[in-house]
């Protein structure tokens, strides 16, 4: 039996976001977990799978699942932690679907909590193995996305004002989201006047750094239909990664994302024209343009012109990042993209609800340009 639609997201929980003095990644994860099981109408004893992502400030690192499970007092049949940056949330939800389909667990909680903001995390590291690129000043999260943006500008004529369209759309949506961290609307000129960080990327091309916690609960579709909320089925899923960088000629273009997306669409039996709303991983504005091309909403190289004129804003042809994204809602490394996808399909997105949203595409990307995934969500 195909795995398509066999599992569903039945509970989502998110804490307050932003600058949360005195909180810890562990207690934020716990609060999100409590909110998610309440959202689903479950008790903690119902959770027999636990998959976690350690926060950037979690001292337990890859042993985080043990600490978290101990803290909430559960004995999962299936557990583990994964660190794949912004691709982790989607990959853990997919792992949960697979575990449920394989009979290794019935109800899986996927959990993340972090205090990157108050913890002073600056995402300043260099990539590279024994020869760190930091020796040549190639440091920080904006570096590799800067390469992607610069190459895209040279090969396709993409402009900084087109990148600004992405930032403006995300901020507009965040302004309609009372839980978002950055809610003051911005214009293309505001973007153009924001300071250069790593040319060609300006401050308003960059995502936030945030504290917060998120939990997503997945169970089999039959059980899901007996729970409190309308199930949000995972109709399609795909992943694709590259471990290469300099030896991969088109690494900067993240071509493996196309594979993740086409696998997800094929599993769902759907295509880009079926998508009503999309939550596309936005560590930097350029990433949204790449996703739009890779998903087939436009041709390669046309992502820049696609986003012009408010097309990805609410009310446009394809609303993207309707809660504000990493750029303006909160930097939960893509976890909130899944939460917003669920809310859109449930019809819970209030002022920013896309009318009759039946199909949502959610994507994740992590470890700079290397890891990617995609999921197609529909009501189950």
């Amino acid at each position: 039996m195909s795995i398509s639609g066999r599992a569903a997201i039945v509970g989502v929980g998110a804490t307050e976001q932003g600058t949360l003095q005195g909180r810890t990644p562990l207690d934020l994860g716990i609060e999100a977990f409590k909110r998610a099981i309440a959202d689903a109408g479950l008790r903690k004893e119902d959770i027999d799978g636990l998959l976690t992502m350690p926060g950037t400030t979690s001292p337990e690192a890859s042993l985080h699942y043990l600490r978290f499970g101990e803290a909430v007092g559960i004995n999962p049949r299936y557990t583990g932690s994964m660190t794949m940056g912004g691709a982790t949330a989607g990959c853990l939800v997919q792992m949960a679907v697979m575990a449920i389909h394989a009979g290794l667990a019935s109800t899986v909680a996927c959990v993340f909590g972090d205090t990157a903001k108050t913890g002073g995390v600056t995402f300043n590291r260099a990539s590279g193995g024994e020869l760190s690129w930091g020796l040549w000043g190639m440091l920080g999260a904006a570096a590799n996305s800067g390469i992607a943006a610069d190459r895209h500008m040279h090969e396709y004529g993409t402009t900084s004002r087109q990148l600004a369209e992405v930032a403006v759309a995300c901020r507009k949506h965040a302004s309609m989201n009372e839980h978002a961290v950055m809610r003051t609307p911005i214009t293309i000129e505001d973007h153009q006047n924001s300071r250069m960080i790593v040319r060609p990327l300006r401050l308003l091309d960059c995502c936030l750094i945030s504290d917060g916690g998120v939990c997503i609960i997945v169970t089999g579709i039959d059980r899901a239909r007996d729970l409190k909320k309308k199930p949000v089925a995972i109709k399609g899923m795909g992943q694709a990664h590259t471990t290469m960088n300099m030896e991969h000629e088109r690494w900067w273009y993240v071509p493996h994302q196309k594979q993740a997306l086409s696998d997800a669409f094929r599993m769902a039996g759907l295509g880009p024209s079926d998508v009503d709303v999309a939550q596309l991983y936005d560590n930097f504005t350029i990433s949204v343009i790449l996703w739009l091309e890779h998903a087939g909403f436009c041709k390669e190289g046309e992502g820049g012109s696609f986003v012009e004129g408010g097309r990805i804003q609410l009310g446009g042809d394809l609303p993207v990042n309707t809660a504000g994204g990493n750029l303006s809602e909160s930097y939960m490394e893509g976890w909130l993209h899944i939460v917003e996808g669920v809310r859109q399909i449930r019809g819970e997105s209030s002022a920013r609800q896309v009318a009759d949203a039946e199909t949502c595409l959610v994507t994740g990307r992590g470890m700079s340009l290397n890891c990617s995934n995609a999921m197609i969500l529909q009501g189950g």
Binding site: G137, A143, H154, I197, M246
Partner: protein, 141 residues
């Protein structure tokens, strides 16, 4: 005025030692597979094409073409704070490998320019004792 801080020095390992030995003599060398001829970079224990662990450290011409040009206006480490704004480029070497390098541009002549497509050439910047880091400068036509 104080001299700008030295750029960082490498942590040399058994694997990377030949690269740094060559650099201290003013040579840019990379690993060429003895089995299939693939030249790999970053430095690795085996050939990324055929997994052979036999390689020779062959000398690169030291010239390359800029594929992408970034300008860092922010220092992400104290070692770079006296150097902002500085350019980092992705260079295509004619021998096959690609690498990142900062551009040595003391007069900030190229900071507002777009270096994509320009030819760059290697120089060796002593950072500590006799340890030198290969960096690139813009080749004058």
């Amino acid at each position: 005025m104080n001299a700008p801080t030295k750029k960082p020095a490498p942590q040399i390992t058994a694997l990377t030692q030949p690269f740094w030995d060559a650099a201290s003599k003013g040579e840019l060398r990379m690993q060429k597979c003895q089995s299939c001829g693939h030249i790999r970079f970053p430095i690795g224990p085996v050939c990324t094409a055929c997994l052979s662990d036999k390689s020779d450290w062959v000398r690169m011409s030291g010239r390359g073409t800029v594929l992408s040009h970034l300008v860092f206006h922010r220092a992400y480490s104290p070692a770079w704070k006296d150097h902002v704004p500085y350019s980092v480029v992705m260079v295509q070497l004619p021998e096959g490998p690609r690498m990142f390098t900062d551009i040595v541009d003391l007069e900030r002549k190229y900071i507002d320019q777009d270096l994509v497509g320009r030819t760059v050439e290697v120089l060796f910047d002593t950072v500590e004792g006799d340890v030198a880091v290969p960096r690139f400068k813009v080749a004058e036509p």
